[in-house]
């Protein structure tokens, strides 16, 4: 199949400006069909602007962008016909029932009405909202709205599914339901592209990701690769009590490979966290609490930007 040999997304020096503000500063991205790809970064990193350009609802300022080998400026409609989109802010139709939200949206894709009804029922089932199908959107919780938006985005059986911060603002249980549904789609071969500022989400769902900061890509790889490249195997977290973490930096020098002093804790990067903790105790230091954990993408982000992601 020649169609599948085309990258799902190919961006070169992709730039987006709003007036004088440069939201995306020349990024290169390539996503293969069937891949799960993530844009990880804090708010304002340019993730949403990138996603809107990919979704064909925001013109490219400069650089090139091809979706399924097509230019969004000239083939926007054809591209959008093959995409599923879950925007950051819910834009469900408040004047329609849940079922009608899906049917009407399917009709925008010119899907025959009977087929829309069948797909809508099937998808409401998939996102566990069947029993509320005749209800109104405003009666739904945040997690339910997100699930409905996901169902809506799947009405046209998209080849690529774009999700902008799909689980922001959801409670842990709702997030796990969503992750499970997205994982199933991935297994069905749908290309997933998502933005997130949650490390665990990126680790769970993404085969490959880029870390964005201030409109640029600062690292790229699989979650595992990034952790290996930019962090140690384990991290020792030490808390010395409010305001006194920085004072201990001098006495911790040489423990582990690297130190990171945050407001509320000190992070000691070491391949063996337990022996690093032993060394801390040997030096006569008494932290209020200590924790040895595996490295995460949070550590990668901290290393790359000097800032924490979820602050």
């Amino acid at each position: 199949m020649t169609v599948n040999e085309q990258p799902a997304i190919r961006a070169k020096s992709l730039t987006k400006k709003f007036g004088d503000f440069e939201a995306v500063r020349g990024i290169d991205v390539e996503v293969r069909p069937g891949e799960s790809f993530g844009f990880l970064g804090p708010n304002g990193a340019g993730k949403s602007s990138t996603m809107r350009m990919i979704a064909g609802v925001s013109p490219v300022t400069s650089g090139t962008l091809e979706i399924f080998g097509l230019n969004p400026a000239t083939h926007g409609s054809e591209i959008r016909n093959r995409l599923g989109v879950v925007p950051q802010a819910d834009n469900l139709d408040g004047e329609l029932t849940l079922l009608d939200n899906l049917i009407v949206y399917g009709r925008y894709f010119d899907i025959p009405r009977a087929e829309c009804v069948a797909r809508a029922k099937e998808l409401l089932d998939f996102v566990q909202l069947s029993e509320r199908s005749s209800g109104r959107v405003e009666s739904l919780s945040g997690g339910m709205k997100r699930r409905l938006t996901i169902a809506r985005g799947l009405m046209n059986r998209p080849e690529m599914f774009l999700l902008d911060e799909p689980t922001t603002g959801l409670d842990p249980q709702a997030r796990h339901i969503l992750w499970d549904r997205l994982y199933r789609l991935k297994q069905q071969g749908v290309t997933l592209v998502l933005t997130t500022h949650y490390m665990d989400e990126a680790e769970q769902l993404c085969d490959r990701l880029v870390v964005m900061d201030a409109g640029r890509i600062v690292a790229e790889g699989s979650p595992r690769e990034l952790i290996t490249r930019y962090s140690t195997r384990e991290v020792l977290e030490l808390r010395f009590g409010a305001g006194s973490n920085a004072e201990h930096e001098g006495r911790l020098l040489g423990v582990g490979d690297r130190l990171e002093v945050l407001a509320d804790r000190v992070l000691v990067y070491a391949d063996d966290g337990e022996s690093a903790l032993h060394e801390v105790h040997t030096r006569g230091l008494q932290p209020e609490s200590s924790l040895v954990r595996r490295s995460s993408l949070e550590d990668v982000f901290l290393r790359l930007t000097g800032r924490s992601l979820e602050e």
């Binding site: 609802v57 926007g76 409609s77 995409l83 834009n91 469900l92 139709d93 004047e95 329609l96 925008y108």
Partner: protein, 268 residues
């Protein structure tokens, strides 16, 4: 939309990018399927005017000369009120409703994520507003018939004219609505439609305006009233081409501006 029709070839470029505006109409139809009466809430105003004229006013005024014949005053005013009802329906829908969808409910953002584009949104919404105006006109016509004031079968010829009035006012209404910043701006809507309603040769012939007749002719509704009145009284004239031309031109400009503005506001 077929790509070889005359309409297609004369349409402004942005409108030619439309694919299936009828889906936007379909969406609105599903919304109003539940509350059909809301659709005709605004048609009562011209009806009340009609009743007031029939009950007393008409007797005071007597007959009016129109196109060389003498007609009953109520017969003179009724077509103008029908034209106004088409305007009202189209304006109601293309101002408040569209503002809400544009600025608050994000209905259009969802449409634009699908294969639909800005031109589909503009064409679809304007077509819907036009149809709403048409529903007003038909309801008004039914009332006329029930009151025994429908006159001849010629009145049916005025229905296409009502559609055209709805199209022109819906287009201009939506175009202006895209420039509105807050609900307070909507105070201007009656400030525009009320004088149009009163001074479009609605209640007295153009000749009564004397030297100010040219101002009346600037009113889009004047052209609509002239068309509906001519059609319903079975009086054809070359001037009707001018009236049709004015309304079509307004519709084309309004549609293009509306589509362009939806693009500027939402596809950033």
């Amino acid at each position: 939309m077929s790509h070889d029709t005359l309409l297609w070839r004369v349409a402004p470029p942005i409108l030619r990018s439309a694919r299936r505006p009828q889906r936007v109409v379909e969406r609105n139809a599903i919304v109003y399927r539940r509350t059909p009466m809301v659709l005709i809430s605004g048609f009562f105003e011209p009806l009340f005017y009609l009743l007031s004229i029939r009950i007393g006013f008409g007797a005071l005024v007597g007959d009016v000369d129109f196109a060389g014949r003498s007609i009953d005053y109520a017969e003179f005013v009724a077509p103008a009120l029908m034209a106004s009802s088409a305007m009202n329906g189209a304006v109601y829908d293309s101002t408040m409703n569209i503002f809400f969808k544009l600025r608050y409910s994000k209905t259009y953002d969802a449409m634009l994520a699908s294969p639909l584009g800005a031109a589909d949104v503009a064409l679809g919404e304007i077509a819907w507003a036009m149809l709403r105006g048409f529903v007003y006109s038909i309801s008004f016509l039914v009332c006329l018939a029930a009151l025994g004031m429908a006159g001849s079968w010629w009145i049916l010829a005025s229905l296409p004219a009502c559609l055209l009035i709805g199209l022109a006012f819906a287009s201009v209404g939506m175009a202006l609505t895209t420039y509105m910043r807050s609900w307070a701006d909507f105070d201007w809507v009656p400030a525009i439609t009320l004088p149009l309603f009163l001074f479009s040769a609605t209640f007295y012939p153009l000749s009564s305006y004397g030297g100010l007749a040219w101002i009346v002719q600037l009113s889009p509704l004047y052209h609509g009233v002239a068309l509906v009145r001519g059609a319903s009284l079975g009086v054809a004239s070359w001037g009707m081409f001018v009236h049709v031309g004015v309304l079509l031109a307004l519709a084309t400009v309004g549609l293009s501006v509306a589509a362009r503005r939806v693009e500027t506001l939402l596809l950033k």
